[in-house]
Structure formats: C-alpha cells, structure tokens
Amino acid sequence: MNFVIPDFTPAVPEMVLLALASFILIADTFWSERYKYATYYATQASLVIVGLLILFSFTSETAVTFNESFVRDAFADVLKLFIILVSIGVFLFSKEYLQNHDFYKGEFFTLGLFAILGMFVMVSAYNFITLFVGLEIMSLAMYAMIAMQRDSAKATEAAMKYFVLGALATGLLLYGLSMIYGATGTLTIPEVKAVIEAGKANSTVLAFGVVFIVIGLGFKLGAVPFHMWVPDVYDGAPTAVTLFIAAAPKIAAFAIVYRLLVDGMPGLVVDWQQLLIIMAILSMVIGTVIALAQTNFKRLLAYSGIAHIGFLLLGFIAATPEGYSAAMFYVLVYAITSVAAFGMILALGRKGMEFDQIKDFAGLNKRNPWLAAMMLIIMFSMAGVPPFIGFYAKLVVLEEVIAAGFTWLAIIGVVTAIAGAFYYLRVIKVMYFDAPEQDTPLPASTRELSVGVSVYSLSLLVLGIMPAWLMAVAYNSLLM
C-alpha cells in the first residue's frame, strides 16, 4: 500500500511549535537549577519565532492539507497571531508571579506551549477529529496547569472540578459530533456542509447532533448554564494560570465555534441560533447579576467574563459574515482586556498575599496612582465606555445583532451592560474613594509587571482612539 506524502507547508508553524515545545520539555530537565530561567526565555523565543513565521508566510489564500483535515486561511493566521500576542504577555506576567510566589517551574511554560499548540490545531481544524484532538491537547495541558500547585487544596479542587466537568462536556461534544457524522457520513467540515446543504442528511439526527455540539461548545466558552467551572477555576487556580485560561483559550474556543457552526453547519443555522440565543441571554443576565454580588475580584472577573461571552454569542446569533466578524473583534478585545485585568492582580500581589479581593483595591489611588489609573482604563473598557476599545466591541456586536433583526436581544444586551457598569464602577469607587487599610505606597511587585500591565492597559485606550485597525483585521480576515 502506497503512502502519499501530504503537503506539510500549511502546518509548518504548528510543526515548528511542536518541535520547539518538545525540545524545551526535554531541555528543561537539564537546565533546571543552573539556568533556571532558560525555559522561560526559550518559551518566549519560540512564540516569537512561530509568530514571525506566521506573519511572514501570511497569505490570504486558503490551503488545505492532510486529507482535508487541516486548513490554513487568513482567519486561522490572524487568530494564531493574536493567541501568540496574548500569550507572550501571559508568560511575561506569569514568570514574575511564579518567581514572587516561589513556585517557578519549567512545566508551567512547557504545558503552556502545548496548550497553545492545541489552540493552533483547534483554529486550523477542518475535520472533526483534528478539532477534537486540538481541543484535548489544550484541555489536558490546562488541567495539569491548574493542578500544578500541588499543595494548594483550592487549586487541586479546581483542577478536579474542571477535569470532571470538562470530560463530561467533551463527551457531549463528541456525542454530538458522532451524530453529525452518523447523519452525514463524513468528518470533514466542508463536506459536512455540502451534505447538509444538499438535504441528504437526516434532519432529526442532525438536530440532536447540533444540540450536543452547542452544549459542548457552550462549556468551553463558559456560557450559562455550562459556566459552573468558570468561577471556581478562575478563583482556585494560581492567578498566573487563571490569566492563561482567561485569555487565549477564549480565542481558540471562538475559532471552533466558528469552524463547527459557521463553516460546517450553516444549513442548520435555525437550530443552533435558537440554542445560542438562550445561552446568550442567560449568560448576559446571570453573569451580570451574580457579578454584582461578588467580593472576590477573580470571581468578579469570572462572572463578568461570562457576561462578555453572552455578548460574543450575539455576533453568532446575527448569523451574518459581519456578525461573525463582530464576534471575532469582541473576542480579541476581550482577550487583551483579560490579560490586562489579571495582570493587574499579579502586579499588585506579593508572596503570601494574593491581591484578589475587591477590598484589596481600597485607596489604590493613594498608594499607586499610576496603576490605579491603568485599572480605571481596564474597568471602563470592560464596562464598554468610550473612548476605550471595549466600547467598540459592544458597539459592533450590538449593531450587527440589530441589523440581523434581533432588536430585543440588543435591548437585553444594553440593559445588562448598564447593570454591568455598576460593578466595574464599584471597583473604581473602591480604588479612588475608599480609605486604604494601610497608607504605604504599593509599587508593582516588579518593574516588568508594571511596564507590561501598563502596555496592555494603554493599548485599550490607544486601540479605542483608533479602533479602525483592529476592526479591519477582524472584518477582513473573515470577509476576504
């Protein structure tokens, strides 16, 4: 039996990343004590290399390889670049955090690299199996990362919950995928689309398949009612890991939602739209309402993140190319904002003292006016107040969902955004107006963190003043 050697070129970034990650994994055991931070620098270097590789080989052409199971298009490249962009910041912040909290381990970075590899595969998946493999590479690495702080009961519990629920949700997703396969007889996403559109597939089975797929995706996105893991994991995991989980994986989750629902099953739009509407409303309302009652800042961000996912889903509900672009814009903005917000917790924390309660921020303006100002930007951006970029994210999503005729959904969105503004304002109020417990100045724990957080925060303002660039990226990569 002869083998046809597949075209490897579209997957070169993934292969390079895999090789580098494997190399670092092995090398880390030898580097350990003498060159303690070699792993970190090698990790950042790998990300830069892969990023440049993608950037310089960027074309708007679509290339498909490995028996139509892997695709490289503008959409994939843009998302991968953003995953890298976000992750570089994540690793920078994490290194400082791990150092400060005395549990610097090379595993964090190698696991992180493998998770990123998983995200890449998810983004480029053109076949159910590829997609699933990518998802699992990412998820397994993340389970391990959460549990890395082995002596922390809270982190272990979080990892356990995430693992069990994640396995359940993955099972449901797999169940759904297998039903779609049963109905269409193919695993390849464009073929699935063709069979469904030709009306050859059995509609009942398809409908059930969609239900289970959407449930699985809802879990990965953290949409209500499949969101239970989000607050516990965000809260329980070491903050550096939370930072990782909250940012890039959302981009990857967005990508598989797009690949499965939009690329694969546009013919079933009526089915998945209904489910997404329910999930979006629940996420926006419940995420917002529960966030109001939080006193822990990480949990607050978790619930506000759930509400943001609700907004993101609005873009999919619009079910137009512009709507998907708006959702893409939203997820990119959300990822950048998350890095800034969690980075702030890292920057202000100290060994033995996590800076993760809202009351910790009391009087921050007196103790560190610069970081308080950065936090102000982050909170306003999350609340969707101009001229920060978060406003434009809400703007485009709302606009597209109105254009698609779901005015009532947009109104629910606006109402929850208004209610949501209150809890962001509360943080600002606490920072600027409440009396601090101690009056001592509170510099960022390291200069790198201070600079890093400032760069990400100020980018929210700069992008907000000039939103056209990022918007063009999101729109062009889907509409090209």
Partner: protein, 946 residues
C-alpha cells in the same frame, strides 16, 4: 486646502490637547494653566469663526473622514444653527468660567488638574454638539460623563464630592449606554448613522414599529443627563463640586447635553403622542418638583440646583409640546437660562468664597458688604423669576403662551396652565428668597469670614453675563434674534415659524399668568416659615436618592440570592446543570422536530444471548452505582461491565476488538487497584435522600434520551467506511484481519505515532514515580492488618507454570495476527500480563533477578524496528512505510504470508510489552515501599510462624 475643510474637528479636539497642555503648564506656575486654558478656548473660537457665517446663509457644514471603514462609520462633524448656538455657549461661558475659577480656587487646590479636567470636559461637549455621526456623538457623550465625574470629584478628600461624583457617573454613564442602544436601532432602520440622513427620515422613523423602543432608549439618555424626573436626584448631589464646575456644568453644558439631544432629534422623533406624553410628562413633573423643592433648600447651591432641575423641566416640557413654536421658545429659554444661571452660580461662588458659608439661615444683610455683587445677583435672580425687561421674562411668556395653546387640545389639558402657573409661583418665591435672605434682613450671624467684595476678575464674568440678560430682555431684536433664528432653523431643519420677540404683546392670558405668578410668588415667600414647617413634616424624608439606594440594595440582595442558587461551588451541582440542560435541550429538540425520530429500518429480533448480556450489563451498572462507596467492590462490578462489552464485540463479529478490549480492561483494572490501594477504601456517605432522588431522575432521563437517540441512529441506513477497508485489505495489505491491516499498514504512520506516545508514557510514569514513597494504609476498613504473606506459594507455583503457556499464546496471537484476530498490540498486552503476573505472585525482587532484560531497551528496540521498516522502504525508493508481502510455505504449518508489515508489528509488540511492564512494575514498587514500615510493626513471632 481651505480651513473650512477641517476646522470643526480641530475645534472639538483642541481642548483635549489643551488638557494636556494645561496640566503641563501647572508645572511652570499656578496661573499659567489658567491662561493656557483660556488661550486654548479663544483659539477654538478662532477656528470656529471662519465657518460661523455658513449657518446664517442656511447652509450646513459637514466635514467627514473614514473612521471605521469595516463597519462603514465616518468621523464626521457638522455645523448648523443648533450646533453653532451650543458651541458658542460652551466656548463663551467656558471662557468666563476659566477666568472666574482662576480666582476662585484656593492655593491648596491643584490648578493643573482642574484645568485639565475642564478642558477635557469642554472638548467632549463640543464633540457632542458638532457631531454628524451618531456613534461618534455617543462617544463624546460618554466622555462628558467621565470628565464630569472627574470634575465633580475634584475635591477628593470630601466624602460628599466622591459620593456625588459616583452617583452622577452611574446615572449618566448608564443613560449613555441606553442612548447607544437607541442610536444603534435608529441607525439600523435609517440605514445610516449620519445625522443628515436621520433627520431627513423623520416620517419613516415615526412610522416604524421600533419607534417606541428607540424613543424610550434615547429618552433614557436624555433624562439621565438632563436630570429629568425620575433621574433628577443626582444633580443636587453633584453640587459638591467646586462652584465654577457647577456654574459650567449645570448652566450651559452637561445638563444641556440632554436638552441638546432633544432639540437635535426634534425633527426625527417628535410629533407623536408617545413623544408628547413621555417628554412632556417628564418635563412637567420635573418642572414642578424642582420649583417646589428649590424653595426649601437652605443651601444656596442646593436652591440653584433644584431651580436648574426645574428650568430644565420647563425646556423639556416645551419640546414635549412638539410644535415648532414651542421648540423656538425652548431654544430661547436655553440661551436665557444659560446666562442667568451661570451668573447666579458664580454669585453663589463669590458669596461662599468671601463669607465661608452658603447657608441662607446664616447669611443675611450682605448688601452692605458687597453691593456690586448684590446688584448682579438681583438682576440675575429677577431674570430667573421672570420679571419684565429681563431675558427670563420673554422666554417665560412664550412658554405660558404655548401652555395655554396646548390647553385647547384636550378636555383635561386646562390643568396644564394651572400647573405651570403654580410652578412659576414657586420660581418667583425661591428667586426672592435667594435675594432677600442673603442680601437683606439684618446683620449676618457667625460667618467664618468677614464678607467683602471679591477680586475684580471674579466679578467681570458675572458683569458680562448680567449685561447680556438685560440686553436680551430689553432689546431682543438687536441681540438674540439672529442667533435664535438660525438655531431654530437648525433645530427644525427648515424655515422657522413666525414668532415675535417684542416685549409687549398686549394684555393677554400669558401676561396675566406672569403677573399672577409674581404677586403670588411674593406672597408665598412671606409665608415661607410656615411652609418650611409643613414641608419638614411631610416631605423632608421623601428623597429620590432613597429610592436610588433602595433599588441598589434590592438589586444586590437579589444578586446574592441568585448567587446562592447558582454559585454553590459543588461539582455535583454543576454536573446536574450540564446534564439537566442537555436533557432539556434534547427534549425540546425532540418535541419541536417535525420528522419522526426513528428511521425506517426494521429492528432485528432479540436473541437470548444478547438479552442475557444486556441484562448483565444493566445489573452490573446498577451494582456499580449502589456499591460505589465500597471502592474495591465497585471496581469489580466495573470489570464485569468491561467484560460484557468485550463479549458484545465477539457477538458482533469483531474478535479483534474483543481481544483488545479484554486486555486493556485487565490492565486498567490492575492499574486502578494499585491506585485505589493508597486511597481510603470507602467513600464517605454525604448525600441526602433528596439528592439521590434528584440524581436518579436525571440519570433515568438521560438514559432514556440516549437510548432514543441511539435507536434513531440505528434505525436508519448507513454506509460505513469499513467497506473500503474490507475490499482493500487483502489486495492492498495481504491480510484478512482488517483491523490488523489497518493498524500496521493502511494507518501505519498513525500506529507509529501511537507507539511513540505509549513508549513516552511508560517512560514518563517510570520517571515520575522513581524514588517516590506513598504512605499506604496497613489496615483495611474493618481495622484488620493486611496479610503479610505477599506471595502465597500455591499462586507462585501456578503462575510459574502459566508463564510459558501465556508467552506461547502471545506468539500464536502475534503470528496469526495479519489474517485472523490477533496482532502485535494484543500479543504485546498478553505477554505483558504474563510478565506482570510473575511480578505479582513472586515479588519484584525475585522476578527482577530472573528477568534481567531492561525494559527501557525493549521499548527502544521496538521503536527502532518500527521506524526502521519505514526507512527501509524509503531507502529502496518507495515512500515511508510502504509495505510489501509475499507467501512462503513452511513445513508443518503450511502456507504462511510474510509481509514487511510483520516487522513493523514486532516493533509494536515490543513497545507494548516494554511500556506496560515498565510502568506497572514501577507502580508495584510504590506499594512495596509503603509496606516496609508495616512489616516492622508486626510482632516478631508472627514472622517466625510464617
């Protein structure tokens, strides 16, 4: 390029640059930032000047650039009459305030910060009034909320300032989001966010089914910003700001932004009953509440705050009438209110500054100390009261006229003139109080400072404004008429109606109302002390802020309640939600689907074997659940499930799968047993009866759902991919065992990858567990010690006999693998189990001595062979892993097929054996290590007895 092509954005953005400049200038000296701010304002006016004539010629200047081309948004500015009027108000009054504030602020206050915020605010306001693009307007709108927040909280050390600022930001910021919603819908139905298009599409908008949502959302923005009922309560609390800020924000700018929007959307949204009721109703209520409450405020700024609310209500009410004449009257009153209210706030600031108090119960008789200021105050207050020959009188007359006119439209509308007259009476009364309480009536009592006239430049801005009040009031035709006409044209987007600005209209009903209000107002003022007492008794506690806090607290309580329901942090709870939601979603899908659930395929008859197997499966499953607390027992029942599944594969003619399943099952159970050994043997019981019931229901439902779905798939025809492999197995791979051919041939490269993973996993387990010691229990749950005899003799003997037999089976399975069930993978597992059994029964030390082969090498060889077969085919010119086969005839055995794939299979075999043995033995060591302390604790004689 002419200045007319780009001057508008410069006007709007210049103050932002000025903000940075002013902050920087404060480093030079305190006054420099004030002069910088003033210079920037004058510069902005200069940039506006070249295009000022255009609105007078009936032209609208629009300047636009592409902003967010992806969603078709432009960065667009517009100058028409309305925009011009507001831009001038913002810049001119802004300039006066800047001069005034230079003298108002004390040495302790940071000038740079003040002027930076001030300029930011000015820029945002200019942005609102000059925007052509609605989204851009909303952006500037929210910027005014932010910058006013900074201005109100300027005195951060004061609690009321922080509180007031936060409330103002919460209310107006939220209103801004509502406005965004409204504007988005509006833009969507018009098809453009440009004002030019929106204003031209009034009829279409009013007829649209989404008109009411749009109106409500936009009005939410307007009412919150302009402090209209029921959102009026934030404004008095914002009075904690420095007085120049109040003078600017609450006369000409911030609160007028809402009013501006009413005027801006007047052609597009007005003229419907909804508009009339919502806008007019809110305006009327605000007008009355403000006028009434103002009288009872003892704080000078409090009085002015409520009077501002009241006048804003008046303007809103005028717009609510929806007629063109009313709109003109509203515009006129906007101008007048801005002038007299700015001067009154500045007077209040002077009094505060020079006496140290704003409490009207303490202030009195200031006429003697500051006559100049007193006269200014009197003129401005008279204008506020609507005294003839002042500007306030003219617009109030127009307002009364409109109220009387509106009264003819409805049977109950006669109430309207009555109500507005009552409100006007109170206006007169509080205006009188402002003058009489402060400047007359005996000597002031215990003031912190001795009052005297303020510095000259604090008075000059007030002088100017008061002169405007007089000039407009006496000679309106020569002062305000042109700008009013052009603003009216801009508002109405057309030719304004006929209206008269003359002072004398004859003796008519509006004049009667004015006179009545003046006389009764004086009367009310003189019985004020009685009214204060009544008010204190009835309404003192009635504060909308209480409602605001109640809403906040209730929302929070509600949020906590929801949180308790959802955020339990319990894994089971989360799982229930996920499974429950899946069941519900599936059920909904089932019910809403029109097609039948089941397909057309006939069901096969049930044979006894299958039935027994199914029943066994069910019983074992149930037993696993029931006995889950006893972990070892439930593990055994779990094994039963695995066994039945393996038998199921046999039944459906997949012996290969069955063998694999069986081997994997055994290895996993062994692994699990090893792991469980270190854990408590019993799960604590902590579930209540309710939970068990709930979980049973959910389990049952999801079981039924899964069954139905399986049936749905099974009852339909389906072309499996196995056809291809069945057809190509012999011609392509030379084997009749399809599974094996797939593994070692068709999907050879996948298998190669898999064995690499397996090898790595084995090595990984080995490395991770090396040197690890785990404390294991040395008693079972009943407190009995584990048997110390780890290696019973009978078992040792039997297993030693079994070893060659099992290895023989492994070889047999391996060799026949290509054609019959078997193959390297299964053979590897069998061989591994054979070796593991030796370790188990004879102990690691004993077996290790006899089996010296290092499993690392076995794994390595396996991988080498697997890869080697691939490379060989490459060397002889075929692609990687290409296989070929031939047949040889052996004595005794007969015809035998030799495929290059068989070499590959050897690799698989070796890796499986190596990895499995390596990891399991290492796990076994773990338990050995843990047993050592226990053996020491056993009494010595027991050891001997053994």
């Amino acid at each position: 390029m002419s200045l007319l092509a780009f001057n508008l954005p410069i006007v709007a953005l210049l103050p932002f640059a000025g903000a940075a400049l002013a902050a920087w200038a404060s480093k030079i000296n305190r006054v420099a930032s004030a002069w910088t701010a003033a210079a920037i304002t004058i510069l902005a006016l200069a940039f506006l000047a070249p295009s000022m004539h255009l609105p007078f010629q009936g032209e609208t200047l629009v300047q636009s650039w592409a902003w967010m081309p992806a969603i078709g948004l432009d960065f667009a500015f517009r100058l028409d009459g309305l925009a011009l009027l507001f831009a001038l108000l913002i810049l001119v009054i802004g300039l006066l305030i800047i001069i005034y504030a230079r003298y108002y602020l004390s040495n302790k206050d940071s000038m740079g910060r003040f002027y930076a915020y001030m300029m930011m605010f000015m820029g945002s306001m200019l942005g609102i009034v000059l925007s052509e693009n609605l989204i851009q307007l909303v952006v500037f709108w929210e910027l005014t909320s932010l910058s006013s927040f900074l201005l109100i909280s300027y005195w951060q050390h004061r609690k009321d300032a922080r509180h007031g600022a936060r409330m103002a930001l919460a209310i107006t910021g939220a209103g801004g989001l509502a406005l965004l919603g409204g504007v988005l819908i509006l833009g969507n139905i018009v098809g453009s966010y440009n004002l030019t298009d929106v204003l031209a599409a009034g009829d279409m908008i009013r007829a649209h089914e989404l008109y009411v949502p749009i109106l409500v959302l936009i009005l939410l923005g307007v009412f919150t910003k302009s402090a209209q009922f029921p959102f009026h309560f934030w404004l008095p609390h914002a009075m904690a700001a420095p007085t120049p800020v109040s003078a600017y924000l609450h006369s000409a700018t911030m609160v007028k932004a809402g009013i501006f929007l009413l005027a801006r959307f007047f052609p597009a949204l007005s003229g419907t009953p909804e508009w009339m009721w919502l806008v007019g109703g809110a305006g009327l209520i605000t007008f009355m509440i403000g006028a009434y409450t103002a009288l009872f405020k003892h704080d000078l700024k409090g009085l002015l705050a409520y009077s501002t609310i009241s006048h804003l209500g008046l303007i809103t009410l005028l717009f609510g009438f929806g007629t063109q004449l009313a709109a003109v009257a509203a515009l006129f009153h906007i101008i007048n209110h801005a002038t007299f209210k700015a001067s009154l706030f500045m007077v209040a600031g002077i009094i505060d500054h020079e006496t140290g108090s704003r409490d009207m119960r303490k202030l009195s008789g200031l006429m003697k100390y500051m006559p100049h200021t007193a006269i200014l105050a009197m003129v401005a207050a008279a204008a506020m009261a609507g005294v003839p020959l002042l500007n306030g009188f003219l617009s109030k007359e127009m307002f009364f006229e409109q109220a009387v006119f509106a009264a003819e439209t409805n049977a109950w509308a006669w109430l309207l003139p009555v109500l507005v007259t009552i409100a006007a009476i109170f206006s007169v009364a509080y205006s009188l109080r402002f003058i009489h309480d402060v400047f007359f009536g005996g000597e002031p009592k215990d003031l912190p400072k001795t009052p005297h006239e303020p510095p000259r430049f604090m008075k000059i801005p007030v002088d100017l404004l008061v002169v405007i009040c007089l000039a407009v009031g006496i000679i309106p035709m020569f002062t305000v008429a042109p700008i009013l006409a052009v603003a009216a044209a801009g508002t109405l987007q057309g030719v304004p109606p006929e209206y008269s600005l003359s002072i004398w209209h004859g003796f008519n009903l509006p004049l009667m109302m004015s006179i009545l209000a003046l006389i009764l107002g004086v009367g009310v003022y003189f019985i004020r002390h009685k009214l204060f007492a009544i008010h204190a008794k009835l309404f003192e506690r009635l504060d909308a802020r209480v409602v605001y806090h109640a809403i906040l607290n209730n929302t929070l309580a509600f949020a906590l309640k929801i949180t308790r329901g959802f955020d339990k942090g319990s894994l089971q709870n989360a799982a229930v939600w996920i499974i429950g939601a899946s069941v519900i979603a599936g059920a909904i899908g089932f019910m809403s689907s029109s097609a039948s659930l089941f397909g057309s395929r006939e069901m096969l008859p049930v044979d006894p074997v299958t039935l027994v197997a199914a029943v066994a499966l069910m019983i074992a499953t149930v037993m696993t659940v029931v006995w889950h607390a006893q972990r070892l027992v439930s593990l055994i029942t779990l094994g039963v499930i695995g066994l039945v599944i393996a038998l199921g594969f046999v039944k459906f003619s997949a012996p290969d799968l069955a063998l694999t399943q069986l081997s994997v099952e055994i290895v996993t159970i062994v692994l699990l047993l090893l792991a469980l050994y270190f854990l408590p043997q019993k799960t604590p019981k902590e579930i209540g009866r309710f939970r068990i019931g709930r979980d049973a229901v959910i389990a049952l439902l999801s079981g039924i759902g899964a069954t139905l779905l399986t049936l749905a798939v099974l009852t339909r025809d389906f072309a499996p991919i196995s056809e291809y492999f069945l057809e190509n197995s012999v011609p392509g791979g030379g084997g009749t065992n399809v599974v094996n051919v797939i593994l070692v041939d068709f999907r050879g490269i996948d298998t190669l990858g898999e064995i690499v993973v397996l090898a790595l996993a084995g090595l990984g387990i080995y490395a991770m567990l090396q040197g690890m010691k785990l404390p294991a229990p040395n008693k079972d749950i009943y407190g009995r010690f584990w048997d110390t005899d780890n290696h019973p003799v009978i078992m040792q003997t039997l297993t030693r006999l079994l070893l060659p037999l099992m290895l023989l089976v492994a070889v047999f399975i391996f060799l026949r693998g290509h054609n019959l069930p078997g193959g390297g993978f299964i053979a590897g597992l069998i061989a591994a189990v054979a070796i593991i059994v030796q370790y188990l029964s004879n102990g690691i030390a004993w077996t290790g001595e006899r089996l010296k082969t290092d499993m690392h090498w076995v794994i390595g060889f396996g991988l080498l062979i697997g890869t080697g077969t691939g490379i060989v085919s490459m060397m002889i010119g075929f692609p990687f892993l290409t296989s070929s086969f031939t047949y040889i005839t052996w004595p005794v055995v007969g015809k035998f097929e030799v495929a290059s794939a068989i070499a590959f299979d050897i690799g698989v075999f070796l890796v499986v054996v190596g990895a499995t043995v390596l990891s399991l033995v290492q796990l076994g060591r773990l338990s050995n290590a843990s047993h050592a302390p226990h053996q020491n604790s056993i009494p010595a004689k027991k050891q001997e007895a053994k």
